[in-house]
Symmetry: C2
Subunit: 209 residues, 2 copies
C-alpha cells in the first residue's frame, strides 16, 4: 500500500499491530479518525494513554484495577467464601456480565502449557494457595478454566496444591450449550453430558432467562 | 459487559466508536494494548494524535497531505496532462498501489447523491473545473468513480461542466475482473463487457503480472 502522507502511513502501521487488524482495516479506522473532530480523537488517544499508564493489577486477585485492590475484592457485598479461578481478565468480564456470580476471582494469567514454556511459576498459583490459606475458614475454589487438556491439567495441579487446606474444589459444569443442537456437539462433550446427567430438580433455572 | 476497571471501560468505549468494531473486538484490542510496553502504547497514541492534528488536505487535489500541496502534486515526475478523478483518498491509495498510473489526482470527497443530500456544492467539482482551466493546454480527465447509478450520474455531470474546456474525458474500463469467473458476473457487467469487447492488440498486459 502506497500512502501519500507519512502521518497516515504511521497511524496505519500502528493500528496494524493490534490483533486481527490488517492494513485495509487499519486504513478504514484511520480514515474514520480523520473524519472525527480533533477533540474526539484527543479523547480517544487520551483514554488509551490514561488506561495504559494508570492501570494496575489487583494485589489480591490479579484482575485489572484502577487502584491497588480491585472493585470486586473491596466490595463488602461479595461472598468471600468463593474464589473463582480464571485464566485471564477477559474471563472475569465474561462471568461478571452474566450477573450470576457474587464471589471473588483469582486470575492465573494463563494455564499450564509445557509446550509454550508455561509452568506453575509463570502463573499465580502460589498466591492462590496463600490466599486460600489466609482466609482461615472453609472456602470454595471454583475452577473456570478452558475445557482443554491444558485446562484439565491445571485444574488437577491446583487441586493437588490445595489439598491440605480446608478448600472445596469445584469446576464449572460442562455440557451442551444453551441453544446448541445435539447433533452438532462434539463426541467428547456429548459423552460427558450423558455421563454427568442431572436429576430434573437440579436443573437450575437462571434468573432472567 | 461489566468491567472492573473504569480505565479499561473508557478505552473499550472509545475503540467501539471505530467502524466495524464491536465491544468484544474493542476489548481484544484494549487487552493487547495492556500487554504492550508503555512506550509502545505511547507510540501508538502519538502517531494517531500527530496524524489528526498534523494532517492537511492538498489545496490542489484535496488528497491527504503532510504539507500544503501533496507529494503527488509537487512531484515533477508526474504527468500533468492527466487528472484522475476519484471519490475518496482511499481510491488514491488503491490506484497508487497498482504503480500503473503516473498522472495527478482530484479527490471529489464523494459522489452526487440527492437522496443523501449530496449535490455539486458538497463536492470538489468547481475546483476541478478551475484546475482544468488553469492548466491551459489539453488535459485528460480520467473518471475513476464507483460503477453505480450515482457514479455514472457524477461522470455525466462533470463531463457537462467541462465541455467548453480543452479536456478529454475518459472513464476507467468496466468488465470482468481479473481472475473472476464468467458465470458469477452480474448480467449488467457481462452485457457491457461483451458490448465493449476489444480487439486482441488492445488487450494490454500490465507490468508485473
Amino acid at each position: 500500500m502506497i500512502f501519500s502522507s507519512k502521518l497516515v502511513e504511521d497511524a496505519v502501521r500502528e493500528f496494524s499491530r493490534l490483533p486481527g487488524i490488517g492494513k485495509k482495516t487499519a486504513l478504514r479506522m484511520v480514515l474514520q479518525l480523520l473524519r472525527m473532530h480533533e477533540s474526539e480523537v484527543d479523547e480517544f488517544t487520551g483514554a488509551v494513554s490514561r488506561m495504559r499508564h494508570g492501570i494496575r493489577f489487583c494485589k489480591e486477585c490479579h484482575n485489572v484495577s484502577d487502584s491497588e485492590v480491585c472493585g470486586i475484592c473491596v466490595n463488602p457485598g461479595r461472598n468471600r467464601g468463593q474464589i473463582c479461578v480464571v485464566e485471564t481478565i477477559r474471563d472475569v468480564i465474561a462471568i461478571e456480565s452474566t450477573q450470576q456470580y457474587s464471589g471473588l476471582y483469582h486470575v492465573l494469567g494463563g494455564i499450564l502449557s509445557p509446550i509454550d514454556g508455561i509452568g506453575p511459576e509463570q502463573l499465580q498459583i502460589g498466591s492462590l494457595r496463600e490466599r486460600v490459606k489466609s482466609t482461615g475458614g472453609a472456602v470454595e475454589v471454583i475452577m473456570a478454566l478452558s475445557p482443554t487438556i491444558e485446562g484439565d491439567t491445571t485444574v488437577y495441579y491446583i487441586a493437588r496444591q490445595l489439598k491440605d487446606l480446608p478448600a472445596t474444589i469445584t469446576t464449572i459444569a460442562r455440557g451442551i450449550s444453551f441453544g446448541g443442537e445435539l447433533e452438532y456437539a462434539d463426541e467428547m462433550t456429548l459423552a460427558r453430558s450423558i455421563a454427568k446427567r442431572l436429576p430434573i430438580e437440579n436443573y437450575v433455572t437462571i434468573q432472567g432467562t
